[in-house]
């Protein structure tokens, strides 16, 4: 599955948005009632479980019961019936959790203008629809720092799902983080071509270990790369949730989702009325929730932890931008000019790699 959102609409969309959204924001017709549509099983160990762990926190903070439906595939025929059922029974804030819900949520939002729709990893937005996603390159940069500090062979590995924007930015940030503490670190990346394929992920992770890689990072939907790392007595860094649950010895740190930190205030904003959804979707930094680092395993030296947490604080304070120029790709082409920070649109379109990244991609 893939997760991302559309911050990449054209200028025309912005103008249309400006006029259509208008000055009057969205206001609920009654007290808020929130419901979730989950993409996979609520205990999938990764993406969906991160939402299910946010849910009780949201229930407590918002003082309501929040129901969910699990295993809703990215398919209009599967998404529409449960969403409409919730709406019929008075639920007025519907939260989706997959990229593939985007088009269906757009149609639902048009059909039900009095209902607020939020969609994680979505690409569509509207007067009552907002997509959201976390800036995972921030948390993965910090994991890259830990990996760079812990490697002995200076060879890091990475198991990625598919080579496009949001995976590529993770890979580049990971390598930049590693080089910040260890200029000799290289990152060997294998793409599995699937979001959830433990067999291929195992093959990829084992091939990396055979090559002499001693820390394996990842951006797929299962904990398999960390499990392989533990079996091979090397290290790994996780994604989605704290992967110490699956590989307590091998997992140095994890890039994790902290959705409650974003969703609770966002729902309060909707409840307050005059809500203006971001026409490009919300693209959340560590500061506002969404993504963060679970740091660190006890084998990581205190000094390294301190350095990583200092970098985290700099990101939160806005003192440090990961994709600040000058950044050249590995072929020497200037991608981000000196004194500039990469635009969100260029992040989503990223199809280049920084020096030190070794992959089968051109």
């Amino acid at each position: 599955m893939f997760k991302k959102l559309a911050l990449v609409a054209g200028a025309a969309a912005l103008l249309a948005a400006g006029s259509a959204w208008g000055a009057n924001g969205f206001t609920l017709k009654g007290p808020p009632k929130v419901a979730f549509l989950y993409f996979k099983a609520k205990n999938d160990g990764g993406w969906t479980q991160a939402f299910d762990e946010a849910r009780p926190k949201m229930e407590k903070a918002l003082g309501m019961r929040i129901p969910y439906v699990e295993n809703i595939a990215e398919d209009a025929a599967q998404i529409t019936p449960p969403a409409e059922k919730f709406i019929q029974r008075g639920y007025n804030i519907v939260i989706g959790t997959a990229f593939g819900y985007s088009d269906t949520f757009k149609e639902l939002a048009k059909k039900y203008p009095d209902i607020a729709f939020l969609n994680a990893a979505g690409v569509t937005n509207g007067p009552n629809l907002q997509s959201f996603y976390g800036r995972t390159y921030q948390s993965q940069y910090l994991c890259g720092m830990v990996a760079g500090a812990m490697t002995k062979s200076n060879k890091l590995g990475f198991v990625g799902a598919n080579p496009f924007g949001l995976v590529n930015w993770t890979i580049n940030a990971y390598e930049m983080g590693a080089r910040r503490v260890n200029p000799k670190a290289t990152l060997h990346v294998v793409f599995t071509g699937a979001w959830n394929d433990p067999v291929k992920e195992r093959a990829a992770a084992e091939a990396l270990a055979d090559e002499g890689v001693d820390v394996i990072g990842q951006h797929v939907d299962t904990p398999t790369p960390q499990i392989v790392a533990q079996e091979r007595h090397i290290y790994g860094t996780g994604h989605h949730r704290d992967m110490r649950q699956f590989a307590p010895k091998a997992t140095l740190c994890s890039s994790v989702w902290v959705w409650a930190k974003y969703l609770i205030p966002e729902i309060k904003k909707i409840e307050a009325g005059n809500w203006h959804p971001n026409p490009y979707g919300d693209f959340i930094s560590i500061k506002d929730g969404g993504t963060d680092i679970a740091c660190c395993n006890t084998v990581v030296p205190k000094k390294v932890v301190k350095e990583v947490m200092a970098a985290r604080q700099d990101i939160i304070d806005g003192k440090f931008h990961i994709y600040a120029g000058p950044i050249k790709d590995r072929n020497g082409k200037l991608r981000v000019a000196a004194g500039k920070v990469i635009s969100d649109a260029d992040l989503w379109k990223m199809n280049w790699y920084v020096p030190g990244v070794i992959t089968q991609q051109k």
Binding site: F2, K4, A6, V8, A9, G10, A35, A41, K42, P67, Y68, V69, E70, N71, I72, A73, E74, D75, A76, A77, Q78, T80, P81, P82, E84, K85, F86, Q88, R89, F99, G100, D103, V123, N162, P163, F164, G165, G193, W348, K349
Partner: protein, 374 residues
């Protein structure tokens, strides 16, 4: 010595059983293969099995904390009276009818096409090819998309058909594995040349309104009448035409069919191509009626649904159409149970499995007669 004792014991038990038989005639059950079965009895057995499955499922749900009254409201009243629910079911049913009938027409001649999902993918690719290359004027776009979808699906299934007829390669293996080839080619297109130029995400660009199947009123998509029309054509072909008679021959005894001059190869090939075409149309209606673009996972699960529907319908296209609608009822009602009772998805799958197994097991009673012998 031992033998004597044993035989004495045997004698006594025999005598005892004779005595008890005299006072209480239990008799025994004989199993007979039916030569034929009237349609009403067949329907009665299937209906009874479905009811049994539903009763067991209902008991499970009540044990899980759903009140029986809610259960009735949710499954019976809501399903057939709530217009939203009714729409959801028909929306879901159209592609299920295509894959179900597609599997039924080819399983009849004992060609096990497990490549339904691969053929669906090629149906989607064929239709999207027409969109991306703007072939034909807008008015002709949809028929052309449909034509390309059908041709692509037939081409994809022709290879395993040829391999089996020419070289005797098992089609179960080839059709199944070609699904993965089709999937990887789809991913190659969506992450490569066909990536949406507007947002750089891995799905095709959105289809224009004239490239999407129109609604026919009451919020129903035209996918449904197309599915019904295709079912009628397929049913005529395999049930009522001379060709259909040939398929029965091939199914029952292909050596005999060969001996009396039935064109076995032609019959097989036509059935396989028809199956590929119907599966491709499932991909076509999902892309053009439901999603409005080519996506990465539109085909997921339909392959096994198709096999299941054909099995329950005993490879009869008309029955497959009815079963497909019932399967859609199961899917949609299962979702609403989840919505209101927070029943885990596994439970929904369990219920679906119980009902399917009950109906499948009733096949035994359709083929056999239980005969009480006094």
């Amino acid at each position: 010595m031992l033998d004597q004792a044993a035989s004495r014991r045997l004698l006594t038990t025999d005598a005892a059983s004779q005595r008890s038989a005299g006072s209480l005639r239990v008799g025994r059950i004989n199993l007979e293969v039916r030569q034929s079965i009237p349609l009403w009895l067949q329907a009665l057995i299937l209906g009874g099995a479905a009811l049994l499955g539903i009763a067991v499922s209902a008991a499970l749900l009540v044990a899980a904390g759903v009140s029986p009254k809610d259960l009735f409201d949710e499954f019976v009243v809501e399903t057939f009276t709530d217009s939203g629910n009714f729409h959801s079911i028909l929306f879901q049913a159209a592609p299920l009818i295509f894959v179900g009938v597609g599997a039924a027409v080819v399983f009849r001649i004992r060609f096990w096409n497990l490549g339904i999902e691969g053929q669906m993918i090629w149906g989607g690719i064929g239709a999207t090819f027409v969109v991306l290359h703007t072939i034909g004027p807008p008015a002709l776009r949809l028929p052309l998309m449909m034509l390309f979808a059908v041709l692509a699906g037939m081409a994809w299934v022709a290879l395993p058909a040829w391999l089996r007829m020419r070289l005797g390669v098992n089609e179960i293996i080839t059709t199944l594995l070609l699904n993965y080839v089709a999937l990887n080619f789809l991913l190659h297109l969506l992450y490569g040349p066909w990536i949406d130029p507007k947002d750089a995400f891995p799905h095709s660009q959105q289809f224009h309104s004239f490239e999407r199947l129109p609604e026919i009123g009451w919020g129903l998509s035209s996918a449904l009448p197309i599915a019904l029309l295709c079912t009628a054509l397929a049913a005529w072909l395999v049930l009522f035409s001379r060709f259909g008679f040939y398929t029965k021959f091939v199914q029952d005894n292909d050596r005999m069919a060969l001996a009396v001059g039935v064109p076995i190869k032609a019959v097989t090939f036509v059935c396989v191509l028809l199956s590929g075409a119907l599966s491709a149309l499932a991909g076509f209606v999902i892309a053009t009626a439901q999603e409005g673009r080519l996506t990465q996972s539109f085909f997921e699960g339909y392959g096994f649904s198709g096999i299941l529907i054909a099995f329950l319908a005993r490879n009869n296209p008309i029955a497959a159409m009815i079963v497909a609608v019932l399967v859609a009822v199961l899917f949609v009602s299962g979702r609403s149970l989840q919505v209101f009772y927070q029943i885990p998805f596994a439970m929904v799958q369990l219920i679906q499995a119980i009902i399917v197994i009950s109906v499948a097991a009733s096949e035994f009673l359709i083929r056999h007669r239980l005969h009480w012998v006094h």
